[in-house]
Symmetry: C2
Subunit: 299 residues, 2 copies
Amino acid sequence: MTRIGIDIRGGDHAPLVVWDGLSMALSELKSDTELHLYGLAEDAPKAPSNTKFHICAEAIEMGEHPVKAFQQKQDSSLIRGIADLAKGQTDAFASAGHSGALMVASMQILGLQEGISRPAVVSLFPRLDGGQTVVLDVGINVDLKAEQFLEFASLGASYAKAVLGINKPKIALLNTGAEESKGNILYKRAHELLKENCGGFSGNLEARDFFQSKVDVLLCDGFTGNIILKQTESFYALSKELGLNHDFLNRLDYENYGASPVMGVRAKVLLAHGASGPKAIKNMILGAESIALANFVDS
Amino acid sequence: MTRIGIDIRGGDHAPLVVWDGLSMALSELKSDTELHLYGLAEDAPKAPSNTKFHICAEAIEMGEHPVKAFQQKQDSSLIRGIADLAKGQTDAFASAGHSGALMVASMQILGLQEGISRPAVVSLFPRLDGGQTVVLDVGINVDLKAEQFLEFASLGASYAKAVLGINKPKIALLNTGAEESKGNILYKRAHELLKENCGGFSGNLEARDFFQSKVDVLLCDGFTGNIILKQTESFYALSKELGLNHDFLNRLDYENYGASPVMGVRAKVLLAHGASGPKAIKNMILGAESIALANFVDS
């Protein structure tokens, strides 16, 4: 049996879109998947009969300070969900809520994997050859040390192996040019460290070769990663606005991915876009199910 | 009369594509525009009869160390072109050659404008409303101090005024979220400084709102700026590969812009993509002509 925890109060449009996404997901989940829903008392009557509802006292709002929210809202839907995951009562937990609070709670309650100093958030970018590139970090580590790129390489490689089934992933560093000497101080040092210490490292990848590359794992800091993730969203929005149609463009739609796994913590946590609509929530739940079944967390 | 200096030996495919681009540009230039060509003796016979050819002893290759190239190759096409610009023998100089050497030569020979600590390179991004966003820096300042964002704001605003005719440009900071608290240490500090000191500052712009925005000047560090520039190129390449057609997509093609003005130095210098083809070179030359006619350098 696979048990998935879901934050009913997470996201800019919660709880409405979470209910909508949940009802869309129900028919596509495996028959032995059990949903654990974390929400307020007033939400409980809406829970489908085959789910388990956990009544929480409060919800974390999007504008709150992450550490304060963690300290003061232990009985919130987000923190209760993580706490139950830590106790082994669920196999994965997913939320479209406060990303900072989710990180603090994951680090504090679940703890970090050995050798990892901070969690990282993964996003999948489609490639023209039909494959996918695992990109990390896409939003948490905005001020990082060059050494963290080695951690990202290890986390990205285990994700590529466990979820995409790639045994020897090709790893690259996002940079402003292919040459070793390219980039800023941080990226030059990261390149040196990766070259010395990372087996599958294939050098720099320029953003211009994004969709055409054969790279399985692409490393970047969370600031740059978040920018390229959002620029990809802007391309998708642009293509819709221009009336362009192509199967590949739909692969750029974040709603089709739904949620990003949080790597480096000792349990399976997924974070969805705060602006998620029902389709993204549906895919967050289905993503949580497949992550729960994959064997990549070194807990 | 407008006098434009052109580096015949600048670019990955020089001199061939420079000649091709030049012959494409000739018929579109204004009748009183005079071209000054800087190349090797062997190039001289190819110069059109109505141009002035300056025979140089050498060329700077793409892989050279910028400072060494500047010190050791004073009689190169790139440095001779900048030196003649400094002497007032031309009104603008354009090259698709070594960007680092061009920067060093511009700073050393032309000097910086008052209050500017480093040059910045501008790129124009198309907006869906038909306008353009002046983005800087897109490649030179990869490790910068927050104070430089104020310099970029001033350089970008004068570009928007002089070249795009926008009197009160709307200025924004590229960031990972609209809220003031978003970004890394550098961008948070830049936001504070801009808010306090920059008149037209309208706050953060997320990369997701790129094409839909009304922003006239978008500020970023040269590392991030180069990444978003190249990701835009990747999207253009992708759209061609997928067989998508739309007028707006052609506005994403860097070959239609040709060259980026180098802002902050005391004369008009344009830098084109090293990989420029004939069309990009043609537009580099036409761009140099319009920049030469615009009144934005505080020399």
